[in-house]
């Protein structure tokens, strides 16, 4: 069974009196399989958020159909197995972390003795146990994103829809969320991730789809899509200059062409994280 399936899903927004309609999504055919992390990419206005809103029944489709675990998206039953984290969520600032989760749990008709345990588990999972009883008004942006993830997971859904989960979050918070998504994947959850951060998507997603002007213009397995079949990279360690010349000669002899010989680079993200983590004073002010 597909976790998400859309068939010719189309959305046109009315622009107002005599101004016509805006085509936000154009005949989208999407399949997200159970247990995979699917990245929905695209520039601003490409239709990513509209797709998520359609899947959640927040806006009505103009044409086509959509299902979540084979339940039509316009039925409230389709929400039983879905958790959603919107872009830049605010939540109720006057509630504490635990109260927020309790409120969302009650909406899912959860209660009883197990609820407190579930709340504690989720706060532990997202690393907010220490901020359990603090009001959300005092949470940092990264903490809000993490409590947002916790509320999305409160009823243990099989599918998570994450709309720009790292928007506005610093690299450490962003990394935490990335790690969380990987943990969710290990737990067997299906994740639809909408993001601009291509490096992050590359790290966590099994498959991606690229939307542009409401149309799906590219889709496939991440590793297959990014592999450059015409180029080959060999990484060696401690190779003296003479050895390097011999390797280059061997490549030429075998009919190959040496395009570049260079030292591998780390990413700026890795450099930043390493520097911060090595700081003996810790990461003050992050939470």
């Amino acid at each position: 069974m597909d976790a998400i399936r859309t068939d010719q899903l189309t959305k046109k927004y009315s622009l107002g009196w005599h101004k016509g309609r805006l085509l936000a999504l154009d005949k989208l055919n999407l399949r997200v399989r159970e247990g995979e992390v699917y990245g929905l990419l695209g520039p601003n206005g490409s239709g990513k958020s509209t797709t998520i809103k359609l899947l959640l029944g927040l806006v009505t489709r103009t044409e086509g159909d959509a299902w979540i675990f084979d339940v039509p998206c316009d039925r409230v039953e389709s929400h039983l197995h879905v958790g959603f984290l919107p872009e830049n969520p605010y939540f109720y600032r006057y509630l504490s972390g635990a109260e927020t989760l309790e409120f969302y749990a009650k909406l899912c008709r959860m209660g009883g003795k197990g609820l407190n345990q579930r709340i504690d588990e989720l706060l532990e999972l997202v690393g907010l146990t220490h901020a359990r009883d603090r009001r959300l008004a005092s949470y940092s942006k990264g903490m809000l994103q993490r409590i947002g993830l916790a509320q999305a997971l409160i009823h243990d859904p099989q599918l998570l829809l994450l709309d720009e989960p790292t928007a506005g979050v610093d690299p450490i918070g962003s990394r935490d969320i990335r790690d969380l998504i990987l943990r969710l994947k290990k737990m067997g959850k299906t994740v639809l991730l909408s993001s601009h951060l291509l490096a992050q998507v590359q790290d966590v997603c099994d498959r991606i789809g690229v939307l542009n002007l409401g149309q799906l213009i590219l889709e496939g397995d991440v590793q297959t899509l990014i592999r450059d079949q015409r180029r080959l990279s060999i990484t060696v360690r401690e190779l003296p200059d003479a050895g390097r010349a011999q390797v280059e000669a061997a490549v030429r002899t075998a009919g190959g062409q040496v395009v570049a010989v260079e030292h591998p680079q780390t990413t700026l993200e890795m450099l930043f994280l390493e520097a911060v983590r090595k700081d003996p004073r810790g990461v003050k002010g992050h939470d």
Partner: protein
């Protein structure tokens, strides 16, 4: 995975309590407390009339203030509920759960009603406290200086003071004020289902308040155009809920009349909530 999600009063209660908590933490109650202090102060200040006039004045003023501030809360509280949910995107996370839109809307409405109930109750308790303070103060004055009316015995005067201070009919006026504010809240909620502006909702709420209060006046004019009369039939008649004048003047109001007016209010609330749901169910968020 095709379980049914039925209509759930528990979800309505969850949304209502959250809405109420939000309102309380927005300092609405601080304003009410200030009003309550005004009540008590009013009971202690107006001593220049004879005691019968004093009681009438305080009752009239306090009931007027309860009605005024109740209506003010009935407009402001629901006016900002939906716009703030949409602006803060909290509505997305709520409706992404297995929550029906009608449950969300009813939760929001009942959250306002809880707020209104407690506000009117708190103001009424303060009103009662003011009457108690007055009763003691006036009784002490009468005991010291004798009765106001010539030929009246001290016992008769004290009995009259108690009669004025402990008038059970005041509950009728307070009950109808509460129903009126609940009706006004339903009107504002209906406006907020198709508007995203809090200012618009508040402005239309005030217009509905004024229009509703003018309905009995308009109906009273013989020369009124038919379309105005038709409009007056659609706009809820808020003047019906005003029994304070009769009660303050000591004119008895039957409970049958109070219940029929309350029923009129509840039927209007029901119609408004159905209309609000019809609009909200189609709204794109």
């Amino acid at each position: 995975m095709t379980e049914r999600v039925g209509f759930s009063p528990a979800r309505i209660v969850a949304v209502a309590l959250n809405t109420f908590t939000e309102s309380v933490r927005q300092k609405v109650f601080s304003i009410l407390l200030l009003v309550a202090l005004v009540f008590i102060a009013s009971a202690l200040f107006f001593r220049q009339f004879n005691f019968g006039e004093q009681f009438k004045f305080v009752k009239d003023t306090c009931l007027g203030l309860i009605s005024f501030f109740g209506c003010l809360i009935a407009i402001i509280a629901p006016a900002q509920m939906l716009p703030s949910e949409i602006e803060n995107r909290t509505i997305y996370t709520l409706l992404a759960k297995p929550v029906r839109r009608v449950e969300f809307l009813l939760g929001k409405y009942f959250g306002s009603v809880i707020l209104l109930f407690l506000s009117v109750l708190l103001m009424s308790v303060m009103f009662g406290a003011a009457l108690v303070v007055m009763e003691r103060s006036v009784t002490a004055t009468v005991m010291q200086h004798g009765p106001d009316e010539p030929g009246e015995t001290l016992a008769q005067a004290v009995q009259q003071i108690q009669h004025e201070a402990r008038d059970p009919n005041l509950a009728q006026a307070v009950l109808l004020i509460f129903v009126k504010t609940s009706l006004l809240a339903a009107i504002v909620l209906l406006f907020s289902t198709f508007s995203t502006s809090m200012i618009f909702n508040i402005a239309t709420g005030f217009m509905a308040w004024i229009a509703g209060a003018l309905v009995p006046v308009v109906k009273g004019f013989a020369w009124t155009a038919k379309w105005i009369l038709a409009l007056a039939a659609v706009v809820p008649d808020l003047g019906m809920f005003n029994v304070s004048d009769e009660i303050v003047q000591g004119i008895p109001v039957s409970w049958g009349h109070v219940y029929s007016v309350a029923l009129y209010g509840l039927v209007r609330v029901l119609i408004l909530l159905v209309a609000a749901q019809l609009v909200f169910s189609q709204r794109e968020i």
